[in-house]
Symmetry: D2
Subunit: 304 residues, 4 copies
């Protein structure tokens, strides 16, 4: 069954949530300077752009200004295709800004990488299926075949790309070509149990989201629940972060925890952790989807 | 696709979690008296029953003793079918106990009642599909048709039983017959938006689990997220409870909360609440499935 | 021993935290209109005011704009005593704003009202003593004498003002005169077990902070821990709010919760609740002290 | 002012909480064997000991049985001073148990070690002063003089024992003699910024409680808030643990966390962390005081 069948029905019940809107979003960062907020808001005001959300933050220590601003395009006097040009010329270059422009009408395209664990996959597909998220998922990639029936059930292309120590570089090329072919904007590693090469990561900087099953930086690497049990912690966690060259060390987007006690065996930690993992990953993906995240020097700004 | 197809594959990866085990579980409560723990444990010891878990609690104010005890049946010298008789005769009646006996090999049968919202349904079905829970779900009942395709996808019988003010009594009869036909042990209301009659509830005492989308007793009844927003609370919650005659007032099994702020509109509360609801409901169902809950006088003992 | 003795020593270790700063803070709200943010930031920029924090929020449903902005006064070209005039004339009245202006060099003066419970009092006094908070506490008022030795120990004037049904109106007059005499800016009810009259409250609108020992709106009024135990909740909470005419119904500033279980007797709830109460109250007072709260229509904006 | 002055008054309001009781508590662990629970409970039952609390837990992986049992002494037929002998002879040695026996009438004696930070000290002293805890604090030890006035205020002996790299061994001898002189049962390091030698620790195995200002095992050692900020975590924590030879690696008694965001500077982390630290440390001390903790192989059992 394709997404449309149930999806259409269910989406009706969700229409209150995902209101049709036609907005633009700017994510900006630059050296902190006097007058930035007034210049940016003036630019939108003067061109009839009704500001819906403005979030800004200044990192005093680093002297960096960060901003997310979203405005309605309906009466905006600058044509959509020219907004980038105008903003870049009139404001961006003046303040030496790094900026990205998004439109709410452009639905982001996401690839899912999975291995054998299915809980994050099911959680994401349920949100996709019911229209809870405004996203397209054209492709699922896996180094195992086990979850193919799930992809089939949701009508999503599934590519089985087994990885060995020897074929990794070649297989990553296949993966990268797939991502290009499917016009993928960002990648979600939904308990994908392979380490990506630096080359792969460099193709999608701050665009690969991983879920790690511990409260990072505690227990990086393999078998964190075993380590947590061994160490006797009283709280376990999960961490969603952008993938960078160093394993489990990229900018953290979201974390959450759950209290445990001495009665919790490793298997019980794994069970409790599954719910944490899927919720933490989904919160991170949601923030990314809505252009609310901005990674800077191994930290993230997550606008509210 | 039936549960078996993907399920079988996925269950293999879960086999570490749901270990095949052959145990018996006793849930006991009675007036507190000296010697209960030693008598019960002696009974098991003498008959070669290796105790896996023993949890007991005494409500001093009420003077009531509660106990959950689980033991291995493999070398137990009393035949499984006679354990109830023996325990009742030798111990239960002596201490005037209320007790129930369960066997881990008897998979509980659960009916799902839904309306239009699908997030709790999807969450439960994913756990079912992957063998995360040891449960059978033979039937889904709904007062709307919208979620039928989901039931179909999982190969579960779906019964559309619309409810109006006038047909409610009759339709509940149909529902009760279905539950009987499908040999259902307990019912989960996964955002089922109908109030059940006392008659219906009396057929399944402490066997109907509801999820209410507020931190009860705050905001009972309809539209709790709207009320929470109106009141300006800084934390929202969800509550799973056994259904009793009084609306949203039954024994609470599990609650959890999430922090919000002034920026959260009603729609954002609804979105954040969905994740709370599904996790809280699933934790409650899991506790019930594992015979870890014991309702007494509108409160629950939830053994760890 | 006066605050100075230990305080001075201890404050040295805190100097990293309470940096000497000379800033102004504006709290603004008005009907949402295009151009507010740019006008306010322009006003500060043009007069050489370096913006340290800008937080703004628009309540779309109500169409109200809220803002907190803090800037350095060191090179600000408008003299401190004229800032209010200039801002009001040039901007405030143009946009029909409600606004308040604060200066970081003006230490707020707080009165503490207590009864017999001391945990919130001790917590606040420790923060006061060590300079953790930039506040003056010139007076403690109580309807009981029991906590006078604590006030003496900290060198704070203590006024014993017993309240009966018959003398309440008169005693509140005494209290109000005291508050005037001590030049009190705001009042903290640190488990003060008396209901204030509307007349008293009207003298300090949004300036009386209470701590209620439940997760409001659940369990308002007396003995909430008993009610929570009776209801069998799995989580308890505490709520700090501005006092309004309706009991326990004023704008909520801060809430927090702690997980409990069936083993927790009422006395254990009271014990666990004490820690919640003191932390929640202190967080609320801290937010108020730093002019981060803005009450509007029975809700609060709490800037981060 | 001595503890008695205010304390006596305040304790009256607390008498509901610390009920006078005359109980014995056994903490037991041994290899798991059939029949332990029934033997121990039988022993108490037969001698007229009314069991108030029974908590037991079996670590299946290690095969170790753990138990805490508390019973009333009022009608217990074995004289208090002989309970240890009888239990050891009749049961303890039979099952090769490690066990400890405590009496609720013996108030534990605690030494506080502090440096310059006062928040944990003030929190503990407030609990002490008001009789919230059943403990004696005869002595405060510090490597700085700054907190002496606080000790004076509470009428507690204060010993200034400065530590340098060169005098450490000698000074620890002085400390150990003090602990002996004051008949100290256990030591609480309330932000004591010195590493204790193995020799010192070996005198008080599982009797020295530390608070570390991070979510261990993340950020052990110095300046954890700086490290947390640098790493960009979204949640910070505090950990209370028994001190062992390896720094910040002893058995964890209690942990808790608080959510932070990108707006939180290091100073804000320090401020938020202070509240965490004091609450987490106090929970751990409370559990220890009530003989609810049992350390085993670098993990703790904390009975509820």
């Amino acid at each position: 069954m394709s997404r449309t069948d149930t999806g259409d029905f269910i989406m009706k019940s969700l229409k209150k949530i995902n209101v049709n809107k036609n907005t633009a979003i700017l994510l900006i960062h630059c050296e902190d300077q006097r007058g930035i907020v007034s210049k940016v808001t003036e630019f939108l005001d003067e061109n009839n752009g009704n500001i819906l959300h403005l979030d800004q933050y200044v990192d005093r220590k680093e002297g960096i200004f960060f901003m997310r601003i979203e405005w309605e395009l309906d009466n905006f006097t600058i044509p959509t295709e020219k907004i980038g040009d105008y903003f870049g010329t009139l404001i961006g270059q003046k303040y030496n800004m790094t900026w990205r422009l998004f439109f709410s009408t452009q639905t982001p395209r996401m690839a899912l990488f999975v291995s054998k664990m299915s809980h994050c996959l099911f959680d994401i597909l349920a949100r996709y299926q019911t229209g809870e998220w405004d996203v397209e998922i054209p492709v699922i990639v896996s180094n195992h075949e086990i979850l193919k029936p799930v992809a089939d059930k949701y009508g999503i292309d599934f590519h089985y790309i087994p990885i060995t120590k020897d074929n990794k570089a070649d297989q990553e090329k296949v993966q990268l070509e797939l991502l290009k072919k499917y016009k993928v904007d960002f990648v979600v590693l939904a308990r994908y149990m392979q380490v990506l090469s630096d080359n792969f990561i460099n193709h999608y900087p701050d665009k690969i989201i991983n879920i790690h099953h511990s409260f990072l930086p505690a227990f990086p690497g393999a078998k964190p629940y075993h380590s947590a049990h061994e160490r006797g912690v009283k709280i376990i966690g999960a961490t969603s972060h952008y993938v960078t060259a160093e394993l489990d060390a990229g900018p953290i987007i979201e974390q959450d925890v759950v209290r445990i006690s001495h009665v919790d065996s490793v298997n019980r930690l794994i069970r409790k952790g599954r719910d944490l993992e899927k919720i933490v990953l989904s919160r991170a993906v949601y923030a990314h989807l809505n252009h609310k995240t901005l990674a800077y020097k191994n930290r993230t700004i997550v606008f509210s």
